[in-house]
C-alpha cells in the first residue's frame, strides 16, 4: 500500500520527549548516585569500632554513636508497632468497609491533611501535647508517639493504593463463595496487597530514621546507653536522640567528619532495612503466588 512499514516515520515530539526522559533520568540518577558516593567518601574514614560502640565523652574527647543507634532502633520499633496496625486498619476500613459518603471523604481528607503537615508542626504539637500536657517530657516515647501521627498517613495511603490495585474479581470471587469480609481480606486482599503495605512501611521507616525537626523538641538528644537491664525498659521514658538528630547537632557544630560518619551509618541502615523488607515481601509473594 501507500506507506512502507520499512520506513520509520520520525515523530519529533517523541524524540524530544524521549530526550527529556533520558536527560531527567540521568540527572536524577547522577545526582542521587553522587550524593551516596560523596557521603561515603567523606564519611567512611570516621567509622571505627569505637565510633560504633561508644558514647561521646567530653572528658576523653572521643565520639561514638552507640547510644544514638539504640535510640533510633527504639523509636523505629515503637512507632511502627503503634502505627502499622492503625494505618493498615484504617485503609481496610476506607477501602473495604465504608460506604462512600461524607464520613469516608472526611477521613480521607484528614488523612491527606495529616500527611501534609510539616514535621516541625508535629514537633511543636508533640512537645506541647505529649511532652507537657501528658507530662512525658523529652523522651523516646514522646518522640515515638509524635512520629506515629506523622507516618500514619504514609502507611494508610500505601495500603489503600495497594488494596485498590487488587482486582475486584478477587473480592467477588471470595465473597461469592461465602467468605466473610474479614476472612476474605485476610486470605486474599492482604496477601495481594502485602508488597504495597511493605512499601508503606519502608517509607515510614525511612521517614522515622530521617526525621529531625519533629524529634528535636520531643525525643530530645540524649546519647547515653542504659546502665542496667531495667534501664532498657525505663529508657523509653528518657530522652534519646536518633542518629539523625546527632547528625544535625554535629553538623551545626561543624564536626563534619563525625557528621559524614553518621551519614554513612544512616545510609547503610536504610539500605539494610530496604533489603530486609524486600526479602520479606519477596517471601510473601512466593508463598501466595506460587
Amino acid at each position: 500500500m501507500d506507506q512502507s512499514i520499512l520506513v520509520k516515520r520520525v515523530r519529533v515530539s517523541d524524540i524530544v520527549i524521549t530526550a527529556a526522559i533520558y536527560a531527567a533520568a540521568s540527572l536524577s540518577i547522577l545526582l542521587l548516585a553522587g550524593i551516596v558516593c560523596y557521603t561515603f567518601v567523606k564519611g567512611i574514614s570516621s567509622i571505627s569500632w569505637q565510633f560504633l560502640t561508644t558514647v561521646p565523652s567530653s572528658l576523653k574527647g572521643t565520639f561514638g554513636i552507640a547510644g544514638n543507634l539504640l535510640n533510633t532502633l527504639y523509636i523505629v520499633v515503637i512507632t511502627l508497632v503503634i502505627a502499622t496496625p492503625i494505618g493498615v486498619g484504617s485503609a481496610i476500613y476506607l477501602n473495604e468497609y465504608a460506604k462512600p459518603g461524607k464520613v469516608v471523604r472526611t477521613i480521607e481528607f484528614t488523612t491527606e491533611i495529616l500527611s501534609g503537615i510539616p514535621s516541625i508542626i508535629f514537633g511543636l504539637f508533640g512537645m506541647v501535647f505529649f511532652g507537657n500536657t501528658l507530662g512525658l517530657g523529652y523522651s523516646i516515647i514522646t518522640g515515638a508517639l509524635t512520629l506515629t501521627l506523622m507516618v500514619l498517613p504514609l502507611i494508610t495511603r500505601n495500603t489503600q493504593e495497594a488494596l485498590k490495585t487488587v482486582p475486584e474479581s478477587y473480592r467477588s470471587g471470595a465473597l461469592g463463595m461465602g467468605a466473610a469480609r474479614w476472612y476474605m481480606i485476610r486470605t486474599i486482599l492482604l496477601p495481594s496487597a502485602m508488597p504495597g503495605i511493605i512499601t508503606g512501611i519502608i517509607l515510614a521507616v525511612g521517614r522515622i530514621v530521617g526525621e529531625s525537626a519533629a524529634l528535636l523538641f520531643t525525643a530530645g538528644s540524649g546519647f547515653l546507653l542504659p546502665k542496667s537491664g531495667m534501664g532498657f525498659l525505663t529508657k523509653i521514658l528518657e530522652s534519646g536522640g536518633t542518629l539523625t538528630i546527632q547528625l544535625y547537632l554535629c553538623m551545626s557544630k561543624a564536626q563534619y567528619g563525625e557528621a559524614f560518619g553518621i551519614a554513612v551509618v544512616l545510609l547503610v541502615l536504610v539500605l539494610l532495612i530496604n533489603m530486609l523488607t524486600k526479602y520479606l515481601s519477596g517471601k510473601f509473594n512466593v508463598e501466595t503466588r506460587e
Binding site: 478477587y170 465473597l175 461469592g176 463463595m177 461465602g178 467468605a179 466473610a180
Partner: protein, 252 residues
C-alpha cells in the same frame, strides 16, 4: 410450581436511577437447569447476582421485593450471607482465579467452611477438578499459581472452585463464553450431572447451548422477564412475539 427452589416476587432493582430489574416474578425449579437468555445489558447478570446477594456489594443498589430460597426470604435481616452463598454458589463471566496455587484456589471454599483435614481437602480438590474437566491438565502443577493458566483453563478452574463447596444452587454467568467447544461440551455434560443433585441457573448468549442443556428458559428484555417456560416450548412455540423475534435473530 411446587418444587421451586428459588422464587422471586415483584423484584425490582435500581442502580442509582437506572431501573435494571422490573417486577421480576420467577420460580426456579429445583434439580433442573434454568437458562437466562436475552440481549446484552438486559439484566441477566444483575438478576443472577440478586439470587445470592452479590449485588449487596455494589454501591447505590436498591432492591425491592422478595427472593426466597427454600421458602426463606434471603433479604431478611437475619440472613447469614456466608451460609447463603455456600448454598448458592457462583461462577462468573470472566475467569477470576485467586492469586494463589491451583490447589489453594479449590481448597479456599472448603477451608472457609471449616474443613481442615489435609486428606479430605486433597480429595475435594481432586473431585472438583475432575468435575470441571480440568484435572488431567493441571494435576502435575497443583502447587503452581493459577494465574499461569490459559483463559479457558482458568474458567474451568473457577467452576471447580465453585463445586468444591458443594452448593445446592449453582449460578453460572456465561461460564463457557471463554471456552473452546470441547471444554464447553464437558461443562454442559457436567451440568447434566449436577442437576441430579443441584439446581443450576445459567446465563448464556448461545441459544444452542440454552436449547441443548436447559430444562427451562427465561427470556429477558430491558430488565423484564418477557417469558419463562419449558425450554422446548420457548424455542418451538414462544408465546410472546418478542421472544420469537429474538430467537429467530430478528432483533437485539
Amino acid at each position: 410450581m411446587n418444587n421451586a427452589k428459588i422464587s422471586t416476587k415483584k423484584l425490582n432493582l435500581y442502580y442509582g436511577a437506572n431501573h435494571a430489574l422490573k417486577d421480576v416474578d420467577m420460580d426456579i425449579t429445583a434439580n433442573a437447569i434454568t437458562a437466562f437468555i436475552g440481549p446484552s445489558g438486559c439484566g441477566k447478570s444483575t438478576f443472577l447476582k440478586t439470587l445470592n446477594r452479590m449485588n449487596d456489594l455494589v454501591d447505590g443498589v436498591k432492591i425491592d421485593g422478595e427472593v426466597t430460597l427454600d421458602g426463606e426470604n434471603i433479604y431478611d435481616e437475619k440472613v447469614d450471607t456466608t451460609l447463603l452463598r455456600k448454598k448458592v454458589g457462583m461462577v462468573f463471566q470472566q475467569p477470576n482465579p485467586f492469586p494463589m496455587s491451583i490447589y489453594d484456589n479449590i481448597a479456599y471454599g472448603p477451608r472457609i467452611h471449616g474443613i481442615k483435614s489435609k486428606a479430605r481437602l486433597d480429595e475435594i480438590v481432586e473431585e472438583s477438578l475432575k468435575g470441571a474437566a480440568i484435572f488431567d491438565e493441571v494435576k502435575d502443577r497443583l502447587k503452581k499459581s493459577a494465574l499461569g493458566l490459559s483463559g479457558g483453563q482458568q474458567q474451568r478452574l473457577c467452576i471447580a472452585r465453585a463445586l468444591a463447596v458443594q452448593p445446592e444452587v449453582l449460578l453460572m454467568d456465561e461460564p463457557t463464553s471463554a471456552l473452546d467447544p470441547i471444554s464447553t461440551l464437558k461443562i454442559e455434560d457436567l451440568m447434566e450431572d449436577l442437576k441430579k443433585k443441584y439446581t443450576v441457573v445459567v446465563v448464556t448468549h448461545n441459544m444452542q447451548q440454552a436449547a441443548r442443556v436447559s430444562d427451562e428458559t427465561a427470556f429477558f428484555l430491558v430488565g423484564e422477564v418477557v417469558e419463562k417456560d419449558i425450554t422446548s416450548n420457548i424455542f418451538a412455540r414462544p408465546k410472546d412475539k418478542r421472544t420469537e423475534d429474538y430467537i429467530t435473530g430478528r432483533f437485539g
